[in-house]
């Protein structure tokens, strides 16, 4: 087997006495769409923060195509090729939607500028379903549209790996269907994705494989169907989850 695109090796993050990520290891192959699930507070967002460089791990290694990235500043990791969305959507409120997406194209892994960046941003806006909305200030947009902006911005960096933190959360049923289709498309085009998600239907239908965390520990890793049937996983969810 070739080198995995992303290797998480015995990664740990402690906030004082609280161990949010407890010696977790897993790998992500190129082109894979991996689900990362677990009850609230199990350390999923922290895991993504460690990969994207928002936080640096207390110990452990993270390798992207064999290159160590753990503990590097976020802008360096972004340039190497990691892009993300945020659990609580983060747009650039004083900028237009086009500029929001251009922001993702100029400094990251992609580094395009000028007309090239504008063209790319327009294409991506169209791809996430915001064609014709280029000049709208994002502050005036609905929640799902802001999430689309965030996704387009992340894609604009043409990352090796895309991290989605509950990107489907808060969407109504019809928006959810559109959102899932969008993720499926992006994955089908060969983009490697880790998606943190609470919507189990989405995990079942989109992700071949998923990793389950509970209280900072990885408790399961494998084919989604079997992992979701695993009694330990079910118990973890039943403990405090409402939609399992």
């Amino acid at each position: 087997m070739s080198v995995p695109l992303l290797t998480i090796n015995q990664v740990r993050k402690a906030f004082g006495g609280l161990v949010a990520v407890n010696d977790v290891s897993f790998e992500v192959a190129k082109g894979e769409l991996l689900g990362l699930i677990g009850p609230n507070g199990s350390g999923k967002t922290t895991m993504l923060n460690l990969i994207s460089g928002a936080l640096s791990p207390t110990s452990g290694n993270i390798l992207l195509s064999g290159q160590p990235i753990a503990g590097l500043p976020a802008h360096k990791i972004a340039r190497i090729g990691v892009a993300r969305t945020f659990q609580l959507v983060r747009v650039l409120p004083s900028m237009s939607s086009l500029e929001n997406v251009v922001a993702g194209a100029v400094f990251g892994h992609n580094k395009v500028w000028g007309d090239e960046a504008l063209t790319l941003a327009r294409d991506l806006l169209e791809r996430v379903g915001l064609k014709g909305r280029e000049d709208v200030p994002v502050a005036a947009m609905t929640y799902i549209d802001q999430k689309r902006i965030e996704l387009a911005r992340a894609l604009a960096g043409n990352p090796h790996i895309l991290l989605l933190d509950e990107w489907l959360a808060g969407l109504n049923p019809s928006e959810l269907r559109i959102g899932m289709e969008l993720i499926r498309e992006i994955s089908a085009q060969g983009r490697t994705i880790i998606m943190v998600e609470h919507v189990m239907d989405a995990i079942r239908s989109l992700c071949q494989r998923c990793v389950v965390m509970n209280s900072g520990v990885k408790i399961a890793d494998g084919k989604s169907a079997s992992v979701l049937a695993d009694p330990e996983v079910v118990r973890a969810y039943l403990g405090d989850e409402d939609d399992a």
């Binding site: 460089g53 802008h75 340039r79 945020f86 747009v91 900028m95 922001a103 400094f107 014709g132």
Partner: protein, 322 residues
């Protein structure tokens, strides 16, 4: 890259305006020329200040430090070097100081940054006083040149033009975009690959260097330079007040605050010298409270609200038509 037509027009109008202003000393002198020097001084400094503080929303009270460093660049070397060389020294000194401050304050934001920069001017002023009284023999330095108010005016006008051109170029560059992203959301900036520390420091250095040059140009006017005058914290506060009054969202925003405020301040300090500080303090509070985005920002918001009302009604009709 192609430059949009309206920016070419603005640029042309700005340069033409500057050319017209260059004739001012030929038609006026005395009081009005002195006042014009003051206006031009604050036009340069406030615009330079806003280059950094506008997009980053970090309120710097270090203007007096940069200004003083520039003034002293002239005071120390005026007898041994030609004036253009002194300007270059001021550029280097201002930029260096800004880089050091930038490195020291990388992790500071909000009020901590404000306080640090305020303390800085005071600290440097004290150090200069200490050095002069212990090693220099006198508290001040003499600066004798042949410059008249007209020369100062022209130099400050030229500086203002350079500051505007720089601001325009920065806005069109990646650095300008990086700063706008940082001003919106620093975490997002980092995650799209912006080296936030580098962008912040570069712009602070540019801004600081310009303010130092303004200080250098003004040195001949004082003729006897003391730390108290050169590093006067009042400079820092005036700059913030005027720039915020005008608004920092646009390059020319601070100008809108500088012109009326300089005139009013001149009147007040002439007629009520003892109340100046109080009036300034009140003005400061009023501006922050009533006009957080400045006059220009306020007008723009009103204007945009009207426009977007029109646009959004268009958008909904288009949506329904699908």
């Amino acid at each position: 890259m192609n430059i949009p037509r309206n920016e070419i027009l603005t640029l042309g109008a700005g340069l033409a305006g500057a050319a017209v202003l260059a004739f001012l000393p030929l038609v006026t002198e005395g009081f009005w020329l002195s006042l014009s020097v003051n206006i031009m001084l604050y036009a340069a400094i406030c615009t330079a200040w806003a280059l950094f503080s506008g997009p980053t929303h970090l309120v710097s009270l270090a203007s007096a430090a940069f200004f003083g460093v520039g003034t002293y660049s002239v005071a120390i070397f005026v007898d041994v070097l030609p004036f253009p060389a002194l300007i270059l020294i001021a550029v280097a000194a201002g930029a260096l100081l800004a880089i050091l401050v930038g490195l020291a304050t990388l992790r500071l934001s909000g009020v901590y940054f404000v306080i640090f920069t305020l303390g800085l001017a005071e600290l440097i002023g004290q150090i200069v006083t200490w050095v002069q009284t212990n090693f220099g023999g006198a508290i001040g330095l003499y600066v004798f040149t042949d410059f008249t108010e007209t020369h100062l005016y022209w130099m400050l006008l030229a500086l203002t033009v350079v500051v505007f051109l720089t601001g325009w170029l920065v806005n069109r560059s990646r650095l300008g975009l990086a700063l706008r992203i940082i001003g919106n959301d620093e975490a997002v900036a980092r995650h799209v690959g912006v080296d936030t520390a580098r962008a912040r420091i570069i712009l602070f250095a540019v801004s600081g260097a310009f303010i130092a040059v303004a200080g250098a140009i003004m040195a001949p006017r004082y003729s006897y330079i003391t730390p108290d005058a050169a590093f006067n914290p009042m400079t820092s506060f005036l700059v913030v007040i005027m720039a915020l009054l005008g608004g920092t969202r646009r390059l020319w925003g601070p100008l809108v605050g500088v012109v009326p405020f300089t005139v009013v301040m001149d009147f007040i300090s002439g007629h009520f010298p003892n109340q100046t500080a109080v009036i300034m303090g009140l003005a400061f509070l009023a501006i922050v409270y009533v006009l957080p985005d400045g006059v220009t920002g306020q007008l723009e918001t009103l204007f945009r609200r009207r426009c977007s009302l029109d646009k959004s009604s268009l958008a909904t009709t288009a949506e329904e038509g699908r």
